[in-house]
Every structure is written in C-alpha cells, then in structure tokens.
C-alpha cells in the first residue's frame, strides 16, 4: 500500500476523466486483440462459423448481383421498342419497298429497314450453323420483314402499341410484333426476383444474427467463471460485454471478407460462359461484379450483423450469470 493513501479508509473516486478516456481506448485495443486471439485460438471451428455466415450472406448478395446485371441488360434494350412487320410470304421486292416508303411517311416513324427474305435466310444460315440444312430447302420459307423504329416520343409502350395496331391494319402485313413485349416481361420477372432476393436477404440476415448469437452464447458459457470473478471485482455489464462484442464484430468482418471472396471467385468462374452466351446474341455484355463501394457495403453489413448478433445475445446471457 503506497503512502498516498495511508488512511486507506477513503472511498475510491476512480481516475480522472481524461485518464478514463485514455484507458477506455486502450481497453478497446486490448479487447479487440483479445477477441482476435480468441477466434484464432480455435481456428478450425471458428473459421467454419465465419464460413457459414459468409455463405449465408453470399446467397442474397449473389442474387442481388445477378439482378443488377439483369437490369443493366434489360436497360440496354429499353429504348429499342422496335416493331417488326412480317409481310405476306412471296411479296415482291418492289412491293416490299413500296410499303416501306409508305410507312416512312408516317410522322411517328424514324426509320424503316426492309429485310428481304433472301438476305434474312443468308444471315440465318451464317449465324445458326444450319447452312447445310437450309441449302436443302426448295423455297425460302421466310417472309419479307420491315423493321420499324418509332420516332422519338413514340417509343413508350402506349404509343408503340398504337402504332402497332395501325400497322396491323395495313395491306400485306401479316403480323406486327412489338419487341417491347419481352422487355416488359423481363422487367416483371426482375421485379419478382428482386422481391424474392429481399425476402431471402432478410431471412438469411436473421439466420446470421442467430448464428453469431449462438456462437457468442457458447463463448459466454465457456467464460462463465471469468465473468463471475470480474463481476465480483466490480466490473459493469458494459465492461464484460465489450470483448464479446469485439468477437462478434470480428466474425462479421472475417465473414464479410470471405463472402466477398466467394462472390468474386464465382463471378470469375461465370465470366467465360456468360461472355460466350452474350456473343451468341451479338452482345458485348459482360458480368459486372461488386464495385468498391458495394464491396465495402457488403463488408459493413456483415460487421453490423456480427455486432448486432453478439449484442443481442451477450446482454441476455451476462445477466444470467451472477457470482455464487
């Protein structure tokens, strides 16, 4: 006992505020380190836990990436509300051109491209690989086609559909088709998928909270004796909670980084097949992965889930431990 408190009988006022703050920062450092050592002390089972969390996060995150790509893909077709007019088979080239000119006079029309049957067949033979089979054909089964690009201001679905009805009535037009249809369907599908992704994300987010909560519960139980002792020494619940919160945070961080790696590897793996598929549609489409901001968002969400999961669990379980 040092002489500065020779009486020994005064109450502890504790340390000054700045000293407390300094100590708090130091404690945080210490406990952050202890949390990491805790996880590293049992690397196998703890990395399993982190991996489970990572997979649970990778599912909704991966779905979200696919949706973003799908939207991107559909947007590039958004303005392409072209109308295809399939004419009567056997219509002569001059008649086709005449009809094209007639349509061109419509104010709502920007351009009209006439595709003649022979040209269409040649294109098809070249791109489909059925050239030998096509060569066997007696006559060209393809109708002449006019591809109409509506003028600006007439590309929205309602105006396009008006034009469509108009063209449908023209002589020699067998079938008028709006290319927008499938875009609309794709949008509806993407919307549905987005809702599903949100629901999946929510469910798996809760799962992550439970996984972290359970891991922390076991960790609290393992350190029951220690908690009793430091409670007896006068530790507040906040002091006891802190190392567990750090453990939860580290789980979140490791899992977030793992999840990011899983997604990047999966995208790399998908890159070539997607490029091949896209090139078969004459598209330059490339799968885009997570950018920096999204990557950081993913990792932050993971950290927050880790922290929240441990916070929800640790408070309840620490209260149950009272020194005996």
């Amino acid at each position: 006992m040092s002489p500065d408190r020779a009486s020994g009988a005064s109450l502890n006022q504790g340390a000054s505020l700045t000293a407390r703050l300094k100590m708090l920062i130091r404690l945080h450092k210490l406990e952050a380190g202890r949390g990491i050592r805790d996880i590293l002390s049992n690397p196998f089972s703890n990395s399993m836990t982190a991996l489970v969390i990572a997979i649970a996060l990778a599912l909704p995150a991966g779905l979200q990436i696919m949706l973003d790509n799908g939207k991107h893909l559909s947007q590039s077709w958004d303005g392409a509300s072209r109308i295809s007019l399939f004419l009567t088979v056997g219509l002569s080239q001059s008649q086709t051109n005449q009809l094209a000119n007639q349509i061109r006079e419509n104010l709502a029309v920007e351009t009209v491209e006439a595709i003649h049957p022979s040209q269409a067949l040649a294109d098809f033979a070249a791109s489909s690989g059925f050239s030998e089979a096509i060569a066997e054909l007696d006559s060209n089964p393809l109708p002449p086609t006019l591809v109409v690009q509506p003028a600006e201001g007439y590309t929205d679905p309602a105006a396009s559909e008006k034009l469509l009805a108009q063209f449908q009535k023209l002589e020699h037009v067998k079938k008028a088709k709006l290319d927008l249809d499938w875009v609309k369907r794709l949008f509806a599908l993407l919307n549905l998928a987005e809702k599903l992704a949100a629901a999946l994300g929510l469910a798996l987010g809760v799962a992550v909270l439970l996984i972290v909560g359970n891991t922390i519960r076991l960790s609290v139980q393992n350190r029951r004796e220690e908690i009793e002792v430091i409670k007896l020494i006068g530790a507040t619940d906040a002091f006891i909670r802190r190392p567990f919160l750090y453990t939860g945070f580290w789980y979140g961080l490791f899992a977030g980084i793992l999840c990011w790696m899983i997604l990047e590897v999966s995208l790399l793996w998908l890159e070539n097949p997607v490029a091949a598929l896209a090139s078969s549609y004459q598209s330059q489409f490339k799968v885009s992965g997570l950018n920096l901001v999204q990557s950081l968002q993913l990792i932050s969400v993971s950290c927050i889930l880790g922290l929240l999961g441990s916070w929800l669990s640790v408070g309840r379980h620490i209260k149950q431990i009272e020194p005996k």
Binding site: M1, S2, R5, A6, S7, G8, A9, S10, L11, N12, G14, A15, A19, R20, K22, M23, L24, R26, L27, E225, E226, E228, V229, I230, K231, L232, I233, G234, A235, T236, F239, E322, P323, K324
Partner: protein, 247 residues
Amino acid sequence: MIQFAQVSKRYPNGQDALRKVDLEIAAGEMAFLTGHSGAGKSTVLKLICLMERATSGQVIINGKNLNKVKPRKIPSVRRDIGMIFQDHRLLFDRSVFDNVALPLMIAGYEHREIGRRVRAALDKVGLLSKEKNTPIMLSGGEQQRVGIARAVVNKPPLLLADEPTGNLDPELSAEIMKLFEQFNQVGVSLLIASHDLSLLAQMHYRTLVMKEGRLVQDQTDETLGVEHPPEQFESFSAYDEEENHES
C-alpha cells in the same frame, strides 16, 4: 465501516441463514468471523458484497445503505471492497500482472498508473518477480497472494476474506495473516471469515462467533484460545449435516 441492523436472510429454499443479526465493525478495525460451516459466515460476506440481499434489516457499508443500491450500481459498491477467496478465483488465461491489473482496468486507470500500482501491490505480497507468470505456474500460497494483491491494488477501504487460509499450511497461513495485519496498520478495515481456530487464537483480534444464523459471541479479547478452547467450536460439527449452498 460495516453495520448490520436486525439483518435476517432467508434463502428461497426456506432456510434461515441469518436471524436478526446486529453487528458493527468500525473503520480501520480488523475482525474475524467464525463458526461452523452453515452458521451464516458466508451469508454475512455475501450481503456485504451484494451477492445476496437481506430479507429484512439494514446493511450499511461505507455509509451506503445496501438495501437502496440499484442493480446497476452494484459494480461501484464492489469496487470499494477488496475480496479474497478461498479458491483464489484467478483468471488462468492471463498473467499474474494482468490478474492484479483487472480491478484498475475496470475502474479505468491510466496505463502507467496501472503498471505502477500493480507492481507496488505485487511487491507488497512478494511476487514482483512473477508478474509475467500465469497463475497455474504458482503454488497455492503464491496464488493466494496474487488474489490478495488483486484485492488491495485498488486500495479499497474494506477487505473481505472468505477462508483465506483454508487450503494453506500453518506457515503460509501465518504469512497471509501478517499481510492482513500490515494492511490493517495503514487503515484498511478487514473482515476475515475463518474456522482456523488455532490461527485465530494466535491473532488476538476481535472475533465474532456465529451459530445457526445468530451472532453468539462478540469478543475483543486476547484470550479466545483459553476461554473458548477449540473443542467447544468443534461441537459445532454436529450441525455440519445441515450444510447448505452458502458454504
């Protein structure tokens, strides 16, 4: 320092651990609490450090009425009490230094101040050279001294010890008691629960004897060993069958 006024404690299982106990220990006093196991010694200590609450009566520590302490305030009450346990209750996953530093870290002391105080406390108990060891590498007596260093490092005005020499041989026990006397000499109040009667006989301090939850003797005499030979206490052993969770 410690004041019990008509304190009773009934455990949820219906057992009356304390029956209307009155006692007072002045600031700077050192006293022993004795009696067979189950007599209520442990309950007295538990009430003081708020591990249990009195069923009726008042417990006043350092001028604070413990009946009025809210759960959230329990830690701050405990920080003014140094506790020493029979089984030491050290944390085996950290060094001797870190064990002793724990109360200071909880109280938020600054790093350098912690180092200074921990070394002073370890020096006091003669374990300065072992600060980097883990408790598991130490003998029972050394572990107990680490426990004592941890209890005094925060310089609490009151030390409570529950059978501090229970697992130690007489020589080590005497050493521990000498330490307690030194703390007492600088003004620390001590309440030591012990049934080590031969030790009490040597110590010549106030001795409170408990029996069936009552305080049956309160002596400041120096002749405990003569007037109340150990045989008398041994007759308590008849009650040992009633042993309960408090011991």
